[in-house]
C-alpha cells in the first residue's frame, strides 16, 4: 500500500485483503485461545441468547424480535456429557481466539492507513465470517475436519486427546454444530443452508469518515456481496467497464450501496436476490423472503424430490414472521 501510494499519490488504490479466517481449520497461537478460557462453558444455547440480547442492545436487530428455537437436528448443550462439554468449550475458545487474532491483523492494516494519513478517506469494507457460521465440524466438532469430508463423524473419543493443543499445527480443527448455530444468531440455520440467512449472512462494517457523516449507524436496506464492486467503482468515481481487453462485460448483478450513506431510510435498490446451495434455496424480493430447506449438511438421509420441499414465507416489513397460511400461498406461487 505504501509503495503504491508513494509512486502514485494522486491515484486511489484498492486492496482486497482475503483471509482464511474464520473458515476452518481454526488455527491460532495458544495465547489467543487462552484469552477466552471459560468464556463458553455456558454452552451454545445460552450463547445464542446472549448474542441475541447484545444485538438488541446494539440496535442491530429490532427490540421486538423473537428468537427461533433450536432445531431438533442440533443437540442441546445440556445433552452433552461433561467430557464433550470440555472439548466443545475449547473449540469455541479457539474459534474466538482465531477471530480476535484476525481482527488484530485488520488493526495493523488500519494503523498503516493512519500512518499514511489516508485512513479517513479510505472506504473500508470489513466483512468477517464464513458464509454464515459453518456447521461442517460435525455434532461434536472435529480435531481433523478432513474426517468429516470423508464421511466420518468425530466423537469425543477422537477429539479429547487433542484438547491441550487444539488449534496448533498438529490439529486441523473445526467446532461443533451447536456453535455454528449460535454464531448464526439471530438467523435460522447455518452455512450451506442457503435458504435461510444463517447460511448466507456475514456482518459488514463500512467505514469512510471523509464521506459518511454518521457514526456507528445501522443500515437495513437489503444488500448482497454483489453490491461491493459497484460501491467501489462509485466511490472511486470510475465508470462501469463496458469492455475489458476486448471482451464485452455483462452488467453487475448488484447495485452500489452509497445511496444509503447519507440517507438511512433510503428506498432499497437491490430488491431481488436468489440463493441456492445443495437444493436449499430461497428468494428475497421487495421485503419478502420465500425459502425452502432441502437438506442438512451433516445428515446423510435420503432427500425428498425437490418439488416436494415445503416452502416458508416471511416478510421483513410486517411485525410478524410466523408462517401465514391464508392469502400468502398466492404470493408464494407468484
Amino acid at each position: 500500500m505504501q509503495a503504491q501510494h508513494a509512486l502514485t499519490p494522486d491515484k486511489p488504490f484498492f486492496v482486497y485483503f482475503a483471509l482464511g479466517a474464520v473458515h476452518s481449520p481454526h488455527h491460532v497461537p495458544k495465547e489467543y485461545i487462552d484469552r477466552y478460557k471459560g468464556r463458553f462453558d455456558q454452552g451454545w444455547d445460552a450463547l445464542r441468547e446472549e448474542i441475541f440480547t447484545r444485538q438488541k442492545q446494539m440496535g442491530v436487530i429490532p427490540a421486538y424480535a423473537q428468537l427461533t428455537k433450536r432445531p431438533s437436528e442440533i443437540p442441546s448443550w445440556d445433552s452433552q456429557t461433561p467430557e464433550q462439554k470440555k472439548i466443545e468449550a475449547r473449540q469455541m475458545e479457539t474459534f474466538a481466539g482465531f477471530a480476535e487474532h484476525t481482527d488484530e491483523q485488520i488493526g495493523r492494516l488500519v494503523d498503516a492507513l493512519r500512518e499514511m494519513g489516508v485512513f479517513d478517506n479510505t472506504l473500508f469494507i470489513y466483512i468477517l465470517g464464513d458464509n454464515g457460521a459453518s456447521a461442517e465440524g460435525g455434532p461434536e466438532g472435529a480435531y481433523n475436519e478432513l474426517m468429516a469430508l470423508n464421511g466420518i463423524v468425530s466423537t469425543a473419543e477422537i477429539n479429547v486427546p487433542h484438547l491441550d493443543h487444539w488449534g496448533d499445527p498438529s490439529t486441523y480443527p473445526h467446532y461443533a454444530i451447536g456453535w455454528a448455530w449460535a454464531g448464526a444468531t439471530p438467523f435460522q440455520w447455518t452455512k450451506q443452508i442457503a435458504s435461510h440467512y444463517g447460511g448466507t449472512t456475514d456482518r459488514t462494517i463500512i467505514h469512510w469518515p471523509a464521506r459518511i457523516k454518521g457514526k456507528g449507524e445501522i443500515r437495513s436496506q437489503f444488500t448482497y456481496v454483489t453490491d461491493i464492486a459497484p460501491t467501489v467503482l462509485e466511490a472511486a468515481v470510475l465508470p462501469f467497464p463496458e469492455s475489458v481487453n476486448g471482451t464485452v462485460q455483462r452488467p453487475f448483478d448488484g447495485t452500489s450501496m452509497i445511496y444509503t450513506f447519507d440517507n438511512p431510510k433510503a428506498k432499497e435498490t437491490h430488491t431481488t436476490q436468489y440463493f441456492e446451495m445443495f437444493g436449499n434455496r430461497g428468494i428475497y424480493h421487495d421485503g419478502w423472503i420465500a425459502c425452502t430447506r432441502h437438506s442438512i449438511p451433516w445428515l446423510m438421509t435420503p432427500l425428498p424430490p425437490l418439488n416436494k420441499d415445503v416452502w416458508e414465507l416471511y416478510t421483513t416489513w410486517l411485525r410478524i414472521s410466523a408462517k401465514l397460511t391464508t392469502w400468502l400461498p398466492k404470493i408464494l406461487r407468484s
Binding site: 481433523n144 478432513l146 474426517m147 469430508l149 470423508n150 464421511g151 477422537i158 499445527p169 498438529s170 486441523y172
Partner: protein, 135 residues
Amino acid sequence: MKEGKAHHEYNYFGVERTNIGGQTALSPGKHEIKYEFIIDAPKPGSGGKCALYVDGQQVATGHIPKTQPFAFSADEGADVGFDNETMVSNDYKPGENKFTGKIIKVTIETKPSNLSAADKKAVEDAQEMAAVIED
C-alpha cells in the same frame, strides 16, 4: 528416506499411522525405489497390503488397516521431494524435509478401481462437497 533407508508412512487422518521401512541404507548412486499398495477390497476406505522395493527387491511389507475413503485434502496438493503445509509424518519438520538426493523420474501406475456404481457416485459426491466446503 529415513537414515538412508527407504521408508513409507501412511497417515490415516492423524489418528492412525502405518510405518514400514527397509533395513539397509542405500549405497550412493542411482536406485529405483518402488512403493506398492494392493487394496483388500474394491471399496473406498478399504485397507490393503503395502510394500517397498529397492532395485526390484522387496525390502519391507506391511498392512494398512484402513485408508481415507475420499480425500486427503480439499486444498493441499501432492508434493514430490518435500512435504509442505500439513505433514504426513512427524519424523520430519515443516520446511526441513527436502530430499537431498536427486529425483530423476516419478511414475504413478494405477489399476482399475472396480468400485460399484454406488461407490463411484459416493466418490464424486465427496469431491463435489470438498470443492464447495473450501469456498
